[in-house]
Amino acid sequence: MPHNTTDTGTPERIFIKGNEAIAHGALAAGCRCYFGYPITPQNDIPEMMSYALPDAGGEFVQAESEVASANMLLGAAAAGIRALTSSSSPGISLMQEAISYMAGSELPGVIVNMNRGGPGLGDIGPSQGDYFQSVKGGGHGDYKLLVLAPATCQECYDMMVQAFDLAFKYRNPVMVLGDAIVGQMKEPVTPWKPAAVPATEAADWRLEGAKGRKPRLLKSLFLEDGALAGQNRHLQAKYAAMQAEAKAESFLTEDAELIVVAYGSIGRIAKSAIRKLRAQGHKVGLVRPQTLFPFPGPLLRGLAEQGKRFLTIEHNCGQMVEDVRLSIRGIVDSAFYGHMPGEMPGSDDFLAPILDAMGGK
């Protein structure tokens, strides 16, 4: 069942929700364990995994809580297994302790957050209110997740494959940060088959019993003199090396006077607004970060050096704009338009803020 394929093995286009694309992408990437607890708007993911994963020879567990889901993810990761959990904002908050342990113990795993409105119980509609939590660590201690932000159902599929590869490449948890828009909308998706996961993946660190070798230990406790400082230095060097993975979509930036910076669904809606304004002759372009950590700061800085102005649009009260401003600091500032979580944005909502930013200094 993992994906619709013809007899010749050529993938067909399938018409599915972003959430389903997440599940299809995970299965294609060789995900073998799923752990999760129900929460709207991502329930299609566990629902599909509950039948598709056992068919693919894997294990599905409906956990007793998101606390347990994340710790099950930690356990499967320790065994070197490609494993996934998914949730939405309140559930992701509950996972933070385990995610911090995973980062500290250098365990790979994929966590999907279909961001909904907050704070608190908020609502079940889309929001980008979890940006800070996703890219700044989220739990305790100095750590980073790799964070990918899909804007289309196809990207939901593609980024799941990328997420697993990155998790094992860096031995680090990876978050795929969508929202209720990309999770719930339906689009044609072309599944594709990535290279099979090599049997040797994680062979040099995974736990499988100490046959013929010394026992292995995966931990985040470092009490000996200098040990924790050493581990933190090592982790920071790893996070710095991740900068090579930074990725963004650039749309009509070359001749643009104003660069709109927006990610995920909001980036896509901003693109529609930009198309409308281009038709009226306004020189505006878009940078849509596809990785939120690492942040495509150097790209933005290059554009700032060319004398362009900036407007950050988010579906929150101002979070990514801080990273945009850090990236272009000393050259220019970024204006900000925050669409309030709890209200569904349309491209027309962004026209006035963009025109404002174009008219401003």
Binding site: C33, A68, M72, L74, A78, G80, R216, L221
Partner: protein
């Protein structure tokens, strides 16, 4: 002192038993009279006798025994406080062919980790839990645990645990036995040679049911924490006999080894 010096026998001594290879030959960080060392040893002997040392993954919990991986030469991972049964679930679902066990204290398992242990038990995860009940939070300095006895003084119930204020001590072996996925649940004690022998049988059973795929294996070990009980090791053993065992009766609360599996 070198290891071989320590092990060297005096003229009037003879070796009564062998030290399991899987038990690392080093001084532990445990206080004199602490029972964690005995519990470790029982696990080591059982794993060796079952011939599964090289197929075993240990999930360490948060408490005085967090360093169990320094003393047992098996692959190990460290779980957040209370979450060892969830971590073990993940390990086991990832590697169904391995022996997976957690080793948890009473604060870890019976307080912060109650949901995880109950649901792992109820699902019938093929894992083993070694539960060390010493009626206090040992590592953090002897605060009240869910298992602290009525009247027992700790640093957070200095006047003694009071039923009306803090509730009754929780009996885990009985609670676990009541859950569907459990193949074996027992309580044993480490206060005397006789009880330690019985405890080893219980530990063995708790691993056997996992290996046979019958369900969840649980063994509670009544243990001493002389440091936080503010008494010497001999008095601590007496306290286990006179105060703990009457409230936490020893015995097997569930054993399906004669019948079918549970799920």
């Amino acid at each position: 002192m070198q290891a071989d010096e320590r092990l060297a026998l005096a003229d009037d001594e003879q070796m009564a038993f062998e030290v399991p290879d899987v038990l690392v030959d080093r001084a532990t960080h445990y206080c004199p009279g602490c029972h964690h060392g005995i519990a470790h040893r029982l696990v080591a002997e059982v794993l060796e006798e079952m011939g599964v040392v090289d197929d075993t993954i240990c999930v360490a919990s948060i408490g005085c025994s967090v360093f169990i991986y320094n003393y047992l030469a098996v692959d190990s991972v460290e779980a957040p406080h209370g979450r060892a049964p969830a971590v073990a679930t993940g390990v086991k679902r990832g590697r169904t062919d391995k022996i997976v066990f957690t080793y948890q204290g009473d604060g870890d398992l019976a307080s912060i980790g109650l949901a995880e242990v109950m649901h792992a038990a109820n699902r019938g995860e093929r894992i083993t839990i070694v539960f060390v009940n010493n009626t206090v939070y040992g590592m953090t300095g002897g605060q009240m645990a869910p298992t602290t006895l009525i009247g027992q003084k700790t640093t957070t119930c200095p006047g003694g645990r009071c039923r009306d204020r803090e509730g009754m001590p929780i009996r885990m072996a009985e609670i676990i036995a009541g859950l569907g996925g459990v193949a074996y649940s027992a309580r044993a004690s480490l206060d005397s040679v006789k009880n330690i022998r019985a405890a080893k049988k219980a530990v063995r059973k708790a691993f056997d049911v996992q290996q046979q795929g019958l369900g969840f294996g649980f063994v509670e070990l009544l243990s001493g924490c002389p440091t936080n009980w503010r008494m010497d090791a001999v008095k601590a053993n007496t306290r286990i006999r006179e105060e703990m065992i009457p409230y936490f009766p020893l015995g097997v609360y569930k054993d399906v080894t004669e019948g079918e599996g549970v799920c």
